[in-house]
């Protein structure tokens, strides 16, 4: 059970519980590498033309607090680069499901922040800039970067979660 998630435990899909369990067992660095590789092969294509100047070389950490796991990476001109460990410029902390819901654009980051489900520490300006830049890219555009079947699966998952929110 995710303490701060708004979904009751019974509604957590078995798939997401399974993914969480699997991720929770992985050591952080290879998991980050897997994430970074997948990211660079897919959405980076759609994101690389954004105004990243000033963000190159900055380091980020995403802490998935219910696994628990911390990923460290930096932004380069070729995409994200996994880091072993570092003193990051910005740290985002949230639960696994909230991060998924943020990525699927189902949740307003500020609302999560006000409700203490998202924590942004370190250089706030960089954190807000990344948030605003990503908000500026349409979800459909990002989706185009996934291979056919996978894109459909993402859309399916999004619809399911959206439906749950409406209930």
């Amino acid at each position: 059970m995710i303490a701060t998630n708004n979904l009751p435990a019974t509604q957590q899909s078995t798939v997401s519980v399974a993914i969480k369990k699997m991720l929770g067992r992985l050591p952080a660095y290879p998991a980050t590498q897997a994430f970074v590789t997948a990211f660079n092969l897919t959405v980076w294509k759609k994101l690389k033309d954004l105004d990243w100047d000033g963000l190159y070389g900055k380091s980020f950490s995403v802490v998935i607090k219910d696994l628990p796991m911390a990923m460290y990476f930096s932004v380069t001109e070729k995409g994200l680069r996994a880091l072993k460990t570092t003193q990051p410029d910005v740290v985002f902390t949230a639960t696994f499901m909230d991060l998924i819901r943020l990525a699927l654009r189902l949740e307003d980051p500020d609302a999560l922040f006000f409700n203490r489900r998202l924590l942004i520490e370190g250089n706030t300006d960089i954190g807000l800039r990344v948030k605003n830049m990503l908000d500026g890219v349409e979800f459909e555009t990002l989706l185009e970067s996934f291979p056919g079947m996978f894109g459909k699966a993402v859309m399916f998952a999004r619809k399911k979660l959206q439906h749950r929110r409406a209930q």
Partner: protein, 382 residues
């Protein structure tokens, strides 16, 4: 003139945009336009044509589309610099996204308003004037201005461009609003969030200018636009830098005592684990005053005037504005959806209007602060 107007309203009792179209269609463009775009529209007509438009915030193209798709009559947006009061990194529009946003909105017969609501400095005046030119050539439906110098420039250089008075202009009485109207052709004024509804009514009864009110979102009530608190703490004035409490000065940090938020090192608040957090604007901090720690200036609540909608409708408010250009498309979609439903309900049957609990719950979910307020609009003692 009057029969023509009647016909126009019967055909398209909708909004200015349609009205202008209708006038042109009827071969009366010049005649009608002369009255509508440049001079006093007698208030009855202005009000009948534009009652309760829903104007929503757009910090990005996806937010703009979310607003339009969920029923906004218009959006307001700004350029990627300090010519507007939401100058946050990564936010706002460049020429390309502006053109696409306008195309998207106009295809669906909705309006795009551009906020140019900060104050130019002598050395940077050209940037603000250029922003006015950009707005005019891009084809926005109106620009929202605070600085009289800029109004004069816009009025002279682009006489066809519709001008709105920003809340940052801080005009709280009809004489001030009429002054802007007479001198610069201001056609709509956004009223600062410090007046009670009877005071708003007094303004409406005495001006030909359309009145727009804030309906929902974060509050900034300290003599809008003139507040110096943020400038005092971090050296950047909202009126020239374009942001109150800019991101570069903000720090959040989890400590053993709770989550601390600081503005340029100044401790603004410390939240226990179960408390809702807020953005560290100085006016909404908790400070120790004579041994007591409390919100010494203002409580961090969100404005929510949903239940005042029937009264706003009766008064003939031209538009309701939703705050939050710095917020995500998800926020814009959720808030626009609720307000569209509420405004439609009021227009259908104002007498039996009730703010539905589901609406309020959805708005509360995205609000800053743990409660919402009717703000200054509701002052029973007034």
């Amino acid at each position: 003139m009057i029969p023509i107007m009647d016909e126009v309203f019967n055909a398209r009792n909708d909004n200015y945009y349609h009205l202008r179209r209708a006038c042109v269609d009827m071969g009366q463009g010049d005649l009608c336009l002369a009255r509508f775009t440049r001079h006093s529209v007698f208030s009855g007509v202005a009000m009948a044509g534009t009652l309760l438009e829903l104007i929503c915030p757009a910090g990005s193209l996806p937010a703009l589309k979310a607003a339009i798709d969920h029923g906004a009559d218009g959006v307001y947006l700004g350029l990627k610099d300090n010519t507007n009061a939401r100058n946050f990194s990564g936010l706002n529009f460049d020429n390309k996204s502006l053109a696409e946003g306008i195309r998207y909105a106009h295809n669906k017969h909705r309006k795009v308003l551009m906020a140019l609501n900060t104050y130019p400095q002598p050395a940077t005046l050209a940037r603000w004037q250029q922003a006015v030119d950009t707005a005019a050539s891009a084809g926005v439906d109106a620009i929202i201005l605070a600085d009289p110098g800029l109004m004069a420039y816009a009025n002279k250089t682009h006489p066809e461009l519709r001008l709105h008075l920003s809340v940052q202009g801080s005009a709280t009485n009809y004489e001030a609003i009429n002054f802007y109207h007479e001198h610069f052709g201001i056609q709509r004024a956004v009223i600062p969030r410090v007046l009670s509804l009877p005071q708003v009514e007094n303004v409406i009864r005495n001006t030909p200018v359309e009145i727009e009110l804030f309906g929902f979102g974060g509050l900034c009530v300290m003599v809008e636009g003139r507040c110096l608190l943020s400038s005092y703490a971090c050296g950047d004035s909202p009126n020239t830098f374009g942001a109150c409490s800019p991101g570069h000065a903000v720090r959040w940090q989890q400590t053993p005592k709770g989550m601390e938020t600081r503005l340029n090192g100044v401790l603004i608040d410390r939240y226990a684990d179960n408390e809702k957090a807020g953005y560290p604007t100085l006016c909404k901090g908790r400070f120790e005053v004579q041994g007591e720690t409390y919100y010494a200036l203002e409580e961090p609540t969100s404005l929510n005037t949903l239940e005042l909608l029937p009264e706003m409708h009766r008064l003939g408010i031209a538009a309701i504005k939703i705050e939050g250009r710095q917020r995500s498309p998800a926020y814009v979609a959720q808030v626009t959806q609720v307000w569209r439903a509420a405004i439609d309900a009021v227009k259908n049957n104002a007498e039996h209007f009730r703010a539905q609990p589901g609406w309020l719950a959805q708005l509360d979910k995205v609000s800053e602060g743990s409660m919402h307020t009717l703000g200054a609009y509701y002052r029973p003692w007034k």
